[in-house]
C-alpha cells in the first residue's frame, strides 16, 4: 500500500491520482471483505469437523493480529499526515464506516445497555453526547 502514496512530482494531475487511489482502495476493501468471509466459512467448517473451542479462539486471535500487523507493515510511512489521517485522501463513505464501527462494538452493546439500565435518564447523556459531539466537530 505504500505504492498508493501520492508522489508530489508525479506526472498525473491531482484529480487523476485521487481517482486511482480510490479505485485501489475499493479493490483492497473488496479483497479484505471477501477474505474475511472466506476465513469465517473455513472456521465454521473446521468447527463442524471437531476443532476445539479454545483452538478456534486462538486461530481467530492470531489471524486478526497477524493481518493487522501485515497491513501496518505494508502501509508504513514517515509522513505525519500520511500516518495520522492517511493523507486526507480516504473517501467519506469509508471514513463513516470506520466511525460507525467505533460505536457498534462492545462499548455500545454491553456497556451502554448496562449504563442505561443502572442510571436511567441520566445515561442518555452518553448517547446524545456521541452523535452531538460529531455535530460540533462538523460545525466548527
Amino acid at each position: 500500500m505504500a505504492g498508493l502514496s501520492f508522489e508530489p512530482n508525479s506526472a498525473v494531475s491531482n484529480k487523476e491520482a485521487n481517482e486511482a487511489f480510490k479505485k485501489g482502495l475499493n479493490k483492497i476493501y473488496g479483497w479484505y471483505t471477501g477474505g474475511f468471509m472466506a476465513f469465517v466459512i473455513v472456521l465454521a467448517i473446521a468447527e463442524q469437523m471437531g476443532l476445539s473451542r479454545a483452538a478456534i479462539g486462538l486461530v481467530f486471535l492470531l489471524a486478526t493480529v497477524a493481518l493487522y500487523a501485515g497491513i501496518g507493515i505494508m502501509s508504513r510511512t514517515n509522513d505525519a499526515a500520511e500516518y495520522y489521517v492517511a493523507g486526507r485522501r480516504v473517501p467519506a463513505v469509508y471514513n463513516g464506516m470506520a466511525t460507525g464501527a467505533d460505536w457498534m462494538s462492545a462499548a455500545s452493546f454491553i456497556g451502554m445497555a448496562g449504563t442505561l439500565y443502572l442510571t436511567g435518564y441520566g445515561g442518555l447523556a452518553f448517547i446524545m453526547g456521541w452523535t452531538g459531539g460529531y455535530c460540533l466537530v462538523a460545525l466548527f
Partner: protein
C-alpha cells in the same frame, strides 16, 4: 491580508448558518433535557423527553450535519472556493 467583498459575504453567510444550526443543537440537547419532567407526555408509547434523548436528538444531529455539508458545498461553488474532486 486583503479580504475581498466576496470573501466577506461568504464568511458572514457561513457564520449565520453556523449560529442557526448551533441554536437548534442547543435546544434539542440542553433545553429539552432541562425540562424533561414537564415534557414527559406520551409519544408513541414513550415519554417524549426520553424519546428525544434516545432517538429524536440523534436524528436532528444527523439532519444538522447533512444540511450543513450540503449548504457549505453549495456556498463554496457559488463563491468559487470549492475543492476540486
Amino acid at each position: 491580508m486583503q479580504v475581498s467583498e466576496n470573501h466577506q459575504r461568504y464568511w458572514s453567510k457561513n457564520l449565520r448558518i453556523t449560529a442557526i444550526l448551533l441554536s437548534i443543537w442547543f435546544v434539542v440537547t440542553f433545553v429539552v433535557s432541562y425540562f424533561a419532567r414537564d415534557l414527559s407526555f406520551n409519544f408513541f408509547g414513550w415519554p417524549f423527553s426520553f424519546w428525544i434523548g434516545a432517538q429524536g436528538s440523534l436524528l436532528v444531529y444527523l439532519a444538522i450535519i447533512g444540511y450543513y455539508a450540503y449548504y457549505m458545498n453549495k456556498l463554496d461553488q457559488e463563491h468559487g472556493v470549492a475543492e476540486e474532486e
